[in-house]
């Protein structure tokens, strides 16, 4: 896993909370910084892809770790 500047644990939260929390957290980051998100909602995989495409914040990585879904999003 690459470096990240902040981590958001969205475990146990279901749609649309992972996206909403991510948006809020990203707003607090500087451009270029990376947010690592951990989620248990399987729907979040597609959701973060869509979020990244729609908002223009690149999704650097999307994978699984320890039974949870992990995403790396860079603030544009």
């Amino acid at each position: 896993m690459a470096n990240f500047d902040q981590e958001l644990d969205a475990s146990g939260l279901n749609c649309p909370l992972p996206i909403l929390r991510a948006k809020k957290t990203l707003a607090g980051l500087q451009s270029g910084q990376v947010l690592r998100i951990v989620a248990t909602d399987p729907g979040s995989v597609k959701d973060f892809e869509a979020f990244s495409k729609q908002t223009g914040n690149p999704l650097l990585e999307s994978g699984e770790e320890g039974g949870k879904f992990v995403f790396l999003i860079k603030k544009a």
């Binding site: 279901n14 649309p16 996206i19 948006k23 979020f51």
Partner: protein, 158 residues
Amino acid sequence: MSKKLAIIATKGTLDWAYPPFILASTAAALGYDVEVFFTFYGLQLVKKDLDLKVSPLGNPGMPMPMGMDKWFPVMGTAIPGMETVMTSMMKSKMKAKGVASIEELRELCQEAGVRFVACQMTVDLFDMEPSQFIDELEFGGAATFFEFAGESDICLYI
């Protein structure tokens, strides 16, 4: 130029409260400009103190525990107290599964800049007091709604 989403919320039960708030908050998170117009029973969703219920009566296809939806007679769903029981069961299920509460979703919408407009006509119709509603609420009529809806990319009737 961001895309616009207009939603008319016309229902006031717990199960019908989710679609407008989930769609509005998610669209806002994706960069949409969102306005929700609450009319008729949708006004229940913008009261300060939310007391939303869900009823199995009149809700065909509603999944129920113990396969009740297959054998429980419709007459049974009209028994006094059933609505309260069903509502608490649904709320516990939502909590257990990490689903946001309506209060939380509504707050997230407002934080994300979603505009809430209440239908003045139905407020008057049902003799409701403006003080019963949340503060961040505009009051308007159908024409107000069309001003935004006419420019919207997506318009939903819920």
